[in-house]
Symmetry: C2
Subunit: 403 residues, 2 copies
C-alpha cells in the first residue's frame, strides 16, 4: 500500500478530542507566554530530549513520564527556561504539573511540562499559577494558533502543521507546532515541538516513531551550533479515531510514520527559515563518505562554520571556506578528490576550482534557497543537513537578548 497522507490547514488541536490555549501570564511583557494542550481522554505519549548534560527541570520531569500511557496535557511557558535552578526548579516543574492537573481534574503525573527562555532564574510561580488558571479557562478546539504563539521566544512567526490519513479506514489527524529561532544545533536544537494525534498508538511504537523522525528532522538542522538545555519534542496519541492501536506490524503503520516524518521535517525547516536573523535556507548534502558519522561530521562542520555562514549572508561565492571546513571536520578526507556543487553546478572538481563563472555562483548564493552537495569520493554514505546564513541581525538579536 502506498504511504499516503494529505496536508491540511490545521494546528495542534485539530485532531479529535484535543483543546489548546495560549495566554498572557505576565512572564514576558505584552506577549503570550503560556500554552496548554489538553486531550479529553488519556493518551499514549513519547518524548525526545536534549542531550546536553545540563538539562532543565521540566526536561527531567518529562523524561520520567515518556514513553508512557495515561497522559492528558502539556503545560508550557516561555520567557524562563527553569534551567540551572536546582531542587527548587524541580519542585516548580512539579508544581506546574500539579496545578494544571487540579484545574483539569486529572492526575499530576498525567501532565507534561516544558519551559523555554532565560537560564538560571527561578520561575515566577505566582505568574505561572495565574497563567495555568487563565489557560485552563481559555481551552478551545480552535486554540492551536494561540498556543503556537505563546511558545515563541525570538521566533518571528508561529510554526504549525496538520495532516490527515486513513488508518483502518478511519480518518486520523496529526497536528503539530514548534518554536526555535536561536541555539539551534543538530543533536537537538533549542526547540520545543509538540505533536498530537487522534490515532491510537502503542507507546513503545510511538517512541520509536518519534525518535526516528527527530533523527531525520530536528537533528538535521543548525542555526548557530549551540545546543540547548531545554530541547523537547513530545507527541500525544489519544486513540479517539478508534483505530486498532498502531504498532510496526499494523498495515497502516507506514502511513502514520511517514506523516510524522513529514510533520517533523516541515517544522524543522520552518525553524531554520525563521533562524535568528536568517535570510537564506541552505541544504547541505555530503555524499561519498566512508560512513554516516563521517558524512555527518563534514556536513555539520560546514553548517556550523561562522565564516561559511557569513559569506552566504554577504552573497560571497566563497567555496574556499566550504572546503576549508571539510578539511577540519575531523573526518577522513582526501582533498584532491573533493567535488562541490551549488544547486547542481560544479564549483570544485578534485579539490580545485571547476572554473565556474563567479557570476553564476553568485547568482545561486543570492537566492533565498540553494543546495550545496559535497562528494568526498571515498565511500558510499551520505548525510543531509539544513541550515541558514548568519547575518548582523543574529548578532544584534543575541547581544540584546536579556539574561
Amino acid at each position: 500500500m502506498k504511504e499516503k497522507f494529505i496536508q491540511i490547514e490545521g494546528h495542534i488541536a485539530s485532531p479529535q478530542g484535543y483543546r489548546a490555549a495560549g495566554v498572557q501570564a505576565g512572564i514576558k511583557q505584552n506577549k503570550k507566554d503560556m500554552a496548554l494542550i489538553v486531550s479529553d481522554m488519556p493518551c499514549s505519549a513519547a518524548g525526545v530530549y536534549t542531550t546536553n548534560r545540563v538539562s532543565a527541570a521540566p526536561v527531567q520531569h518529562c523524561r520520567k513520564l515518556t514513553p508512557g500511557n495515561g497522559l492528558r496535557a502539556i503545560i508550557v511557558n516561555s520567557g524562563n527556561a527553569n534551567a540551572c535552578t536546582g531542587a527548587q526548579g524541580l519542585r516548580d516543574a512539579e508544581t506546574m504539573a500539579r496545578q494544571t492537573a487540579e484545574r483539569l481534574q486529572c492526575e499530576p503525573h498525567s501532565v507534561l511540562v516544558c519551559s523555554t527562555g532565560t537560564i538560571g532564574r527561578l520561575l515566577p510561580m505566582n505568574l505561572i499559577t495565574k497563567g495555568i488558571d487563565l489557560a485552563a479557562e481559555s481551552l478551545a478546539a480552535t486554540g492551536g494558533p494561540d498556543a503556537a504563539a505563546a511558545i515563541m521566544t525570538t521566533d518571528t512567526r508561529p510554526k504549525q502543521v496538520a495532516f490527515q490519513m486513513k488508518v483502518n479506514e478511519k480518518t486520523v489527524t496529526l497536528g503539530g507546532m514548534a518554536k526555535g529561532a536561536g541555539m539551534i544545533n543538530p543533536a537537538m536544537a533549542t526547540l520545543l515541538a509538540f505533536l498530537t494525534t487522534d490515532a491510537a498508538v502503542e507507546p513503545g511504537a510511538l517512541q520509536a516513531c518519534l525518535a526516528a523522525a527527530v533523527a531525520k528532522s530536528f537533528n538535521r538542522i543548525s542555526v548557530d551550533g549551540d545546543q540547548s538545555t531545554n530541547d523537547t519534542v513530545l507527541i500525544l496519541a489519544n486513540g479517539r479515531a478508534g483505530n486498532t492501536p498502531l504498532t510496526p506490524q499494523h498495515p497502516d503503520w507506514k502511513i502514520f510514520r511517514a506523516a510524522v516524518n513529514e510533520a517533523t521535517l516541515q517544522l524543522a525547516r520552518m525553524i531554520v527559515k525563521d533562524g535568528e536573523g536568517a535570510t537564506k535556507f541552505v541544504t547541505i548534502t555530503v555524499k561519498g563518505a566512508p560512513g554516516r558519522r563521517a558524512a555527518a561530521r563534514v556536513a555539520r562542520a560546514i553548517a556550523n562554520s561562522l565564516l561559511v555562514k557569513t559569506s552566504w549572508f554577504g552573497a560571497d561565492p566563497n567555496w574556499g571556506r566550504v572546503i576549508c571546513a571539510v578539511g577540519y571536520a575531523g573526518a577522513p578526507v582526501r582533498p584532491e578528490l573533493v567535488d562541490i556543487a551549488y544547486d547542481g553546478m560544479p564549483a570544485v572538481k578534485q579539490g580545485q576550482s571547476a572554473g565556474l563563472a563567479p557570476d553564476i555562483l553568485r547568482g545561486i548564493i543570492l537566492k533565498p534557497e540553494f543546495t550545496i552537495d559535497i562528494d568526498l569520493h571515498i565511500g558510499q554514505s551520505s548525510y543531509t543537513i539544513y541550515t541558514c546564513d548568519c547575518s548582523d541581525q543574529y548578532v544584534s538579536i543575541n547581544a540584546s537578548y536579556m539574561t
Copy 2:
C-alpha cells in the same frame, strides 16, 4: 638559575644577521602584500602547521624543509592563500622559493614559503615575481615593521615582539611577528607567525621548543572556531650570537624556551585582541576536570559558542549560556557541581545562581578584559583558552571579504 629575559622594542629583523622587507606587489590594492625575511647565514629552522586535511601548497612545501638546517629565508604573500590549487599551486610555491633563492644567491631548498588570503585561486605569478624582486631590493635590518605590515589580511594593526637574554654570557635576541584576525581556532588558527633568533639552536630542540610553545599559545586562542588551510608558525635560528648550540641539556635552555613561550603567548594574545570585530578579550580557565582533554573540550565549547560570544558583545551577564556550553561540550560534567566565577566573583555555585547582583556581573562584562573560571569539581586537570566577543562588525567584515 632564574629564567630571565627582557622585552625590548624590536621586530623580526632585530636579531643579528637578519634583514627584512615588506613591499607592494599589487596582489592587494594599495597595500603591502609581500614580506621577505632573510638571514645572512644558514639557519636551523622549525615549523608547526595547520592540522586541516586541506592544507595549502606553501604548507606542503615548508613541511618538507622543517625541522632542518641550512635555511636562509622566508618569502610570504598575503591576498591569496595558494590553497586548493592542485599541482599548479605546488609548482607556484616552488617557483616562489626558486625565484627568491636566485635573488639571494642561495639554494631553492633554503627558502620557506607562506601564503595567506583567498582560497582556490592560482597565484598571480607575474606579480609575485615582481614582488620578490622588490622585496629583495628593499631588504634592511630595519625592515621588520614593513614585513609585519605586509603579512596582514583583515588585521587592523601589525603584531611584533622582541626579547633579549644571555646564553653562554652572550646576548641573544629573539624577534617575532604574526598575523591573525579571522578563521582563528585552537589546534592552529589562520595565522602566520614568524620568529627569528641569533642564538644557535639544534634543529630537533628548536622544533620541540616551538611545538611546546605553540601548544600553550596559538593553540589556546579562538576567534571564530574556523581552522585555516594555511596556518604556519616558523622559527629561524642563525647562530650569529656565537653561543654553544642550544639543546635541552644546555644550562641556558630554560631561558631560551621561556622567551619563546612568552613571544608566542604575546603574539597569540595580540591576535585575539585584534580578532575581527572583537571588542573584548576573555580568558577562560576550566579546572577541576577529570583530564586535560576534558578541560580543553569545555573551554573550547565556551570559547566557540556564538551565543556566549554575542552576549559578551552585548554586555549581557548571561552565565546561562556559559553553563549551557559546559553541558554540551561532550565532557563528563555533573551540572550540580559546577561553579563559575567572573573576575573571581562567584556567579554560579553548584550549578545554580550564586546570587551575585546583576549590576556587579554587568560591570565585569563591560570591561575590555575579564576572566571566567569554571570549576567542574570532578578532577584535577585544567586548561586555559583566550578568546574574544563576536560583534556585528565580525559579520560585516566576513560578509564583505571577497572571494
